[in-house]
Symmetry: C2
Subunit: 203 residues, 2 copies
DNA sequence: CGTCCCCCCTGACATTTGTCATCTCCCTTT
DNA sequence: AAAGGGAGATGACAAATGTCAGGGGGGACG
């Protein structure tokens, strides 16, 4: 009997080790490699051609979302399952667009992990149902690329002037984009707008 | 030979289960209970009187820091070890003040966990060295209680007027406190001030 | 071809934010 | 009793922010 070969990617060492230990307790699953970031994960997938890649989203070097896209493109025999803290509609959408087969939240009971891996391995989709609903009715990302860039920086505490300089725009233009973003998101100032966009996974 | 009895508290189900699995692989450690929040953890500690409590900080119901204080007070035979994502000087200081014996980051390799548990069990202190240094030279929390309340709300995107109403203050007073906080933190506006304070663990 | 959308700009305006000096009240400490 | 010190307030001013109306110049698409 052949075990399901799994690679786990996760930047927090403690959590990486713990998840691996958890999966190793399953008789039909084997963790054939661990990766601390997206780049490592991609090269490990290239070398070992595992059945399933379980990956976090927010990681240094390469995001789990980018990673999912690369793996889908270059090693389509490996199915990707996202495992993340963030219940953000925008993340889910991007994950599925990038070819991920599963999207599981770290909130869920740990008993679900092995099962999700098995399902994804069988070619089924595994998507958190609550999040899927939320993703459905919160609609698509309303922000343009420029608005995203600017709102991101505003959320970091930068002034309109600083943002303008950084992006080689006039300050008035920056204020216009911010105003537009604020109204699109139904916020009442840049801070609230940035928080809202972040919570949706649009930033 | 008696195993070290450990309770793990962590609000992300997946991580909770994984950490428990990781600890269970050690021959001299037994996980006698799991808790999904601070309240659960406290009552479990009361019932089982474990040797060590490993707990996250940011949890619903009761913070790991509050929990540490309660356990220290009511069940001093149980040693508390904080296990968290956040390398924030203010968190470390509060944890130690609350009587925690260890402060470990989820960034660290998973191999360190069991060892840290053993050391804490022996009565030794385990503190992340880099963080300890940072905590040392970033000094103590410079904010007053009012400043903290106001800065927190400002960071959520509330306007001075809204904050004033919420706290039954005049708007001018709110602006004064914000101005004071901004200057104490060396920031150039409320957003940057809030981010800075958060990153230090003062919010 | 026209239309739409995105990008970028200007100028004007109202509002909010950040800063300072100054004042009252109340509570400690000496 | 006097001297501080914290919490809260006021008023005034400069600077940053948010909003509107308008105007260019593309690229995409029917």
């Amino acid at each position: 009997m052949k075990k399901i070969q799994v690679i786990v990617a996760e930047d927090q060492g403690m959590v990486l080790g713990a998840l691996a230990a958890l999966l190793e307790t399953e008789p039909d699953i084997a963790v054939c490699a661990r990766a601390a970031n997206g780049r490592e994960a991609l090269s490990a997938v290239g070398k070992l051609k595992p059945d399933v890649l379980v990956t976090d989203i927010e990681m240094p070097e390469m995001t789990g979302l980018t990673l999912a896209g690369e793996v889908k493109e270059r090693y389509p025999q490996t199915r990707v399952m996202i495992l993340t803290t963030f219940a953000r509609p925008g993340y889910l959408r991007r994950a599925l667009d990038a070819g991920a087969k599963g999207y599981l939240l770290k909130d869920r009971p740990s008993a679900e992990l092995a099962d999700a891996v098995r399902r994804v391995h069988q070619g089924l989709r595994v998507v958190d149902p609550d999040l899927a609903v939320e993703a459905w009715d919160s609609g698509p990302d309303p922000l343009t690329e420029r608005e995203r860039q600017i709102l991101w920086r505003a959320g970091e505490g930068k002034s309109s002037g600083e943002i303008a300089e950084e992006l080689h725009l006039s300050e008035g233009t920056v204020r216009n984009y911010l105003s537009e973003a604020i109204s699109k998101l139904g916020a009442s100032n840049r801070v609230e707008a940035a928080r809202l966009a972040r919570s949706k996974g649009w930033l």
